[in-house]
Amino acid sequence: MPLLDRHGAKADLWTRSEGAAIGNLSHALVAWAALPEALAQRSRDQRIGAVLPNTVRMSELKLVMRQLSLIAIGFPSFADGRGFSLARLIRNHGFAGSLRASGPLIPDQFAYALACGFDEVELPQESAARQPVEQWLTALGRISHGYQRGYGDSGNILDRRRAARLKHAAAC
């Protein structure tokens, strides 16, 4: 399925495993239910990613999070915003690997996804065909700065106002 990040389309290094059968895949993407079994049989140089439903409890995820190089959170519908909060929680709990939003998101959500801690979006063919990468990159730049502190690293209005105040104070 098409994959993109803040720079545009990208190749997918990850392969979805059949259940826990990760074989000798270098980057194996495993369904949440099969994850314990897959982790038990991984070899040292294999990287494991997990595909999570957006209802996963942080208390359960925390137990395995450190063993994962990628977490893909499912968006059953673009209107179901649980994935945004789950991504934020996962980042707040210190996950430093890749975070992927997987599902029929729309370009207008791209900036939100990145701000909540996602690195990339994996789209179904149908929506990618209607909404080419250029639309995603254009949508990304629509709003220069939001008001919320602590979301993303593109700078927010409150911190920019603060910086302007400090600069002004220093000049006086």
């Binding site: 209107a79 934020r88 729309i106 996804a113 629509r142 709003i143 008001y147 502190r149 920019r160 106002r161």
Partner: protein, 556 residues
């Protein structure tokens, strides 16, 4: 009043460009109708029965004269020369064309306004006490808090695709004029009993709609500086755990009800303790920057009474009656707040023509330091009028049909647009409001009855707040016929209560009779000085039910 800085200005302009682009992508087919729908809703664009409707945000009900004039212009140029003020203090235009909407948004941006998040499953326009900064019983002005929340909630990356709509209200006074207990989050500014520090009581899970509930206190005292972090914790718990399987059970009130207030509070506190507050909260200099815009305006030093005002009252009973009902004390000596009723007898509640909007703008400039407020009761307020100017103001209002002396009385009816406009409605609201108002049109009778809130909704979604009306009227549809259910004993203030159903539904034409019978019971049974709602509380529902049943038998 708050003024946009370069960042606010840019943000709103970019939002307009974004919407223009979204419309373009819908027209090209890049966005499906399902994908476009929430995008247009989050910009206030509804598809109604006859046309698109545009709902414009009036954050915490505050408007300048300049903004009001722009609304008048938009109404004239793009609508049919009038607008409708709503119970969320917004303004709706019922007849704009979709292709004109980006241009309307540009005109709004010119006067620091927008339509962001006036609909959709996101945090809606935040409301506050319409007497903010004016009320003598105020602990702290709620508007700076409301403005901070407006900014924080605008295009929030995490909370723009919630299970359902989310409404926040703020009051800074002991007497609640913002209906905070019927909101998803209600904030009450208070002083800590021991330290005297300013903070918030946080109430969550109120709401009307088909499952009306009074909000529960989840935090008795939240230090002011922690506001945004605490809101983030509440929203995160709700976004992750609120139900998405059934839209009628998706509001936060259902989550609070299902897991219990204590458990909900525990989950919020756990998340609040875990997240990094200082990285989320606004710094005190930012809070102070916003608050400075709401500093008291340049009042004149005036005596506490005005001879001219007293003389005018003594010589003109109509003016005296308007003062009694529509003028509210001001914290500044020599000033008062004047309510402009948008409920002239027989007219649709909350409607204002472009000419009326312009007149109100002129009068705000002449008499109220250019400031106007919109109330959740669908009236306007000129918040800073000198006592000595009240008579001249009243005369000018009277010439435009805006001096109806009924604020808070039985004809000051809240009504949603109902089946005349709304695609969701199951029954008409406006004609019912008109019929009840006509029945009680006699000013002497209204005065005798005193404070009585009648609230009408044209469907179970309860936009007309019928659950918290002293008398509530809910229009339903039964086998193709409109049927009106009457509730009694609702209360929208700090003593909030949900009204109880009196009996079987009535035909539209029988509603005024039923209201009349209810009022007769009150008039016969009240003690000296006892208001309608106090009387209902004291004597209970039984006498009213008995009278109501006689009415329904009489018509059956």
């Amino acid at each position: 009043m708050y003024r946009y800085d370069e960042f606010d200005e840019r943000f709103v302009r970019e939002r307009v460009a974004q919407f223009r682009d979204q419309v373009g992508r819908r027209l090209s087919g890049a966005l499906t109708e399902d994908e476009f729908k929430p995008l247009r809703l989050k910009n206030g664009v509804y598809l109604q029965l006859h046309a698109y409707m545009l709902r414009i945000a009036v954050p915490y009900g505050t408007l300048s004269a300049r903004q009001m004039r722009q609304l008048a212009l938009i109404g004239e140029r793009y609508d049919r020369g009038y607008g409708h003020f709503t119970t969320r203090t917004n303004l709706q235009f019922n007849w704009p064309k979709l292709r004109d909407i980006p241009d309307i948004l540009d005109l709004l941006a010119d006067v620091e306004m927008h339509a962001i998040q006036t609909s959709g499953n996101c945090i809606r326009n935040v409301t506050a006490d319409h007497f903010a900064g004016v009320a003598p019983d105020e602990i702290e002005d709620p508007r700076p808090t409301a403005e901070l929340i407006r900014q924080w909630s605008s295009l929030h990356p995490e909370f723009d695709y919630l299970p359902r709509k989310f409404k926040i209200a703020v009051t800074g006074a002991a007497h609640d004029r913002a209906v905070i207990k019927a909101h998803d989050i209600g904030l009450r500014i208070l002083r800590h009993p021991d330290t005297n520090e300013i903070g918030y009581e946080v109430v969550v899970g109120g709401g009307l709609g088909r499952t009306p509930m009074i909000g529960k206190t989840v935090r008795e005292f939240l230090p002011k500086a922690d506001l945004l972090a605490y809101l983030e914790a509440i929203m995160r718990v709700y976004n992750l755990e609120g139900r998405r399987d059934n839209k009628y059970k998706a509001r936060v009130k259902i989550l609070v009800h299902e897991i219990g207030t204590a458990e909900f509070s525990r989950r919020v506190e756990e998340e609040f303790a875990r997240l990094d507050g200082p990285s989320v909260n606004a710094d005190p200099a930012e809070v102070a920057r916003i608050a400075a815009y709401f500093a008291p305006p340049a009042y004149e030093a005036l005596p506490a009474t005005s001879g001219a005002f007293e003389t005018a009252k003594a010589g003109n009973p109509d003016f005296a009656r308007w003062v009694e009902t529509n003028v509210t004390p001001h914290r500044q000596q020599g000033y008062a707040a004047a309510t402009i009723s948008l409920k002239p007898i027989g007219a649709p509640p909350g409607d204002a023509s472009s000419a009326q909007m312009r007149l109100v703008a002129d009068l705000a400039e002449a008499f109220s330091l250019s400031e106007i407020r919109v109330t959740h009761a669908q009236n306007l307020v000129l918040p800073h009028v000198k006592l000595s100017d009240l008579f001249a103001l009243w005369q000018r209002l009277g010439e435009a049909g805006l001096a109806t002396a009924n604020a808070g009385l039985i004809t000051d009816i809240i009504a949603c647009p109902g089946l005349d406009y709304c695609a969701l409605a199951t029954a008409r609201s406006i004609p019912i409001a008109q019929a009840v108002a006509k029945r009680f049109a006699d000013p002497a009778r209204q005065k005798e009855i005193g404070v009585l809130n009648v609230k009408i909704s044209g469907c179970i979604n309860a936009c007309g707040h019928h659950h918290v009306g002293h008398i509530g009227i809910l229009g339903l549809e039964k086998r193709g016929i409109e049927s009106y259910q009457i509730t009694l004993g609702g209360d929208a203030t700090e003593t909030a209560a949900i009204g109880e159903i009196l009996g079987p539904g009535l035909a539209a034409e029988d509603v005024p009779d039923a209201i009349e019978r209810i009022v007769s019971v009150y008039l016969a049974q009240r003690r000296a000085g006892e208001s309608f709602i106090d009387n209902v509380r004291r004597i209970g529902l039984a006498p009213f039910k008995a009278a109501f049943q006689e009415a329904s038998h009489a018509v059956a």
